[in-house]
């Protein structure tokens, strides 16, 4: 796994999203998992069972924090109370890097709890990068921004999504959480070649990769995280790690969550591609 300044010079392998239905299994069976990804907001609380479970997980596993509400693309400044709570959690988990989405989702302090697509303009890139820098400076850990899946595009966009992602991460000098499922979903909804996207990302900035399942509807694809990873997404994953090397990889499964064993088995499929990449590098 490539150590770099965007993943805190770690070499994490395959991780699994920590979800409440699996708490009991994980704590009682102690399965072999390299690391767990937590949704930060679920643990930015004052007490009770979630934090107790987290502390037990932290005793035995490495944990990486992933957020869903920083809204780097929203025009307003980062919420100080949000940042304060997030920093408390960062100190608790010792997460080597922290990720959140390249999107917006709040206006004037009102939250949509959604990951809304951005207009791909230079002005938006400048504002977003500034916010990423502010958050990184406050939290004092590397930040990785994740590309979101989307169902709409804006007339005002001045560049493609991958050009926008590159513009933001270069300006912010931050890492990328490359979600290959999101790239696939958006490619089908917006008619672009997903490999062009993967091939355009600055590989040296990739701190982590997300894989997940999605749902196909008649006229669009929805990012539902309720299925195993589909073949086209595995192909994108294969290409991504050819470029970025062995990268910390996380399977997201957030709805219709099956048994821990099933999620674990699905995540471990990534090993097949990682092994091939290792072989190719060795040759």
């Amino acid at each position: 796994m490539p150590k770099n300044r965007f993943n805190g010079f770690t070499n994490y392998e395959i991780g699994i999203g920590l979800r409440a239905p699996h708490y009991e299994h994980i704590l009682s069976r102690k399965p072999v998992v390299d690391w767990f990804e937590i949704i930060s907001e679920n643990f930015m609380i004052d007490g009770g069972r979630p934090l107790h479970v987290l502390d037990q997980i932290l005793d035995q596993y490495k944990v990486v924090q992933h957020g869903v509400s920083m809204y780097f693309g929203s025009a307003e400044k980062p919420n100080r109370e949000h940042l304060r709570r997030l920093k408390q959690l960062v100190k608790r988990t010792n997460t080597p890097w922290l990720s959140d989405h390249l999107c917006w989702g709040s206006v004037d302090g009102r939250y949509t709890h959604d990951l809304l697509p951005m207009p791909y303009t230079f002005e938006a890139a400048r504002i977003t990068a500034q916010k990423v820098r502010e958050v990184r400076d406050f939290l004092e850990i590397p930040i990785a921004v994740e590309n979101v899946s989307s169902y709409a595009e804006f007339h005002v966009s001045e560049m493609t999504e991958w050009e926008f992602l590159n513009e933001v991460v270069e300006r912010a000098d931050c890492g990328i959480l490359l979600d290959v499922n999101n790239i696939y979903v958006s490619s089908q909804n917006h008619n672009f070649d997903p490999f062009t996207y993967v091939n355009s990302v600055p590989a040296e900035r990739v701190a982590q990769i997300h894989i997940a399942g999605h749902s196909k509807f008649k006229k669009y694809i929805l990012d539902t995280h309720d299925h195993p990873v589909l073949d086209p997404v595995w192909k994108l994953y294969e290409r991504a790690i050819q470029r970025a090397g062995h990268t910390a990889t996380l399977l997201e499964w957030d709805d219709s969550i099956p048994s821990f064993q099933e999620v674990h088995k699905e995540a471990m499929k990534a090993n097949r591609f990682l092994a091939e990449t290792t072989l190719a590098v060795a040759v």
Partner: protein, 270 residues
């Protein structure tokens, strides 16, 4: 709205601008209504699904989320319902009691727990002038209906709803019967946690007053004075009653260890 959407959003070969925007609109409402239904199953049982959904839509239109977490989505529901009683007409007290209980449940689940008080923390203290602090996660409720039983019944039925259609129908019927049969009866309730699980504990009026007054920062002596005003407990029995109460509450960990000042000294009553 179609024209408005078209000004900002590109159509594609399968969807118009409005249809693309509508995907987000549907997802928004699905997400927030699902969150409200998870947090307020008892209120949903009282109002019925359709009225509950309508109420939630009206509430969220006026009180959209102002928090980074969906956990706080229902924080203003009780206040909003008091201003908009048409949504709970005919069941006002029952519905408000249920909202208060279900919100207290959320607060008790992940509220802060300070280090609990131990007997040695009180050594050398003058008990009457002590100000004991109640744990932040402990919620005190005075209710007009015994909604604790109803809330547990609703949860039990929802936990088992998935097993079969027949059982679902039976449970729905039980739920409706339970709500219809619920008579007003004043209760005093503590929503608290033991070993990280939330419990409802009914207490007597005097206990409720004692705890409420202590939570307001008053001394033990003042709390006792206020708790026994108009009490049916005889003066002779009050000493033992208070001792038992404090023993139980301390065992349950409801009191916080006294705060210390910057020099590490206990903060005492002057």
């Amino acid at each position: 709205m179609s024209a408005y959407a078209a000004r900002y959003i590109k159509p594609n070969d399968r969807l118009t601008s409005f249809e693309r925007l509508e995907i987000y609109n549907r997802q928004y409402w699905f997400r927030v209504l699902d969150s409200m239904a998870q947090d307020f199953p008892g209120l949903r049982a009282i109002l019925g699904q359709r009225r509950f959904d309508g109420m939630c839509r009206a509430y969220l239109a006026e009180c959209p989320s102002r928090s980074f977490t969906l956990r706080n989505l229902g924080a203003r529901l009780e206040t909003w319902l008091r201003r908009n009683p048409q949504w709970i007409r005919g069941k006002q007290s029952l519905a408000l009691d249920m909202v208060r209980l279900e919100w207290a449940d959320i607060e008790a689940f992940d509220g802060e727990a300070e280090p609990a008080l131990h007997p040695e923390d009180l050594s050398g203290s003058s008990v009457p002038t002590l100000r004991l602090r109640v744990q932040p996660y402990v919620q005190l409720l005075e209710l007009q209906y015994p909604v604790d039983d109803l809330a547990l019944e609703v949860r039990h039925s929802e936990d088992t709803d998935f097993t079969s259609n027949v059982l679902t129908e039976n449970r729905k019927s039980v739920k409706i019967q339970t709500i219809a049969a619920l008579e007003p009866k004043q209760i005093f309730l503590v929503v608290h946690r033991i070993d990280l699980s939330v419990y409802f504990r009914r207490i007597e009026r005097e206990e409720f007053l004692l705890l409420s007054v202590l939570r307001r920062g008053k001394t033990i002596a003042r709390a006792i004075d206020l708790a026994f005003q108009r009490s049916s407990i005889s003066e002779f029995d009050r000493g033992g009653y208070v001792r038992n109460c404090f023993q139980t509450w301390a065992t349950l960990g409801w009191f916080c260890r006294p705060q210390k000042n910057a020099r590490g000294e206990k903060v005492r009553e002057k």
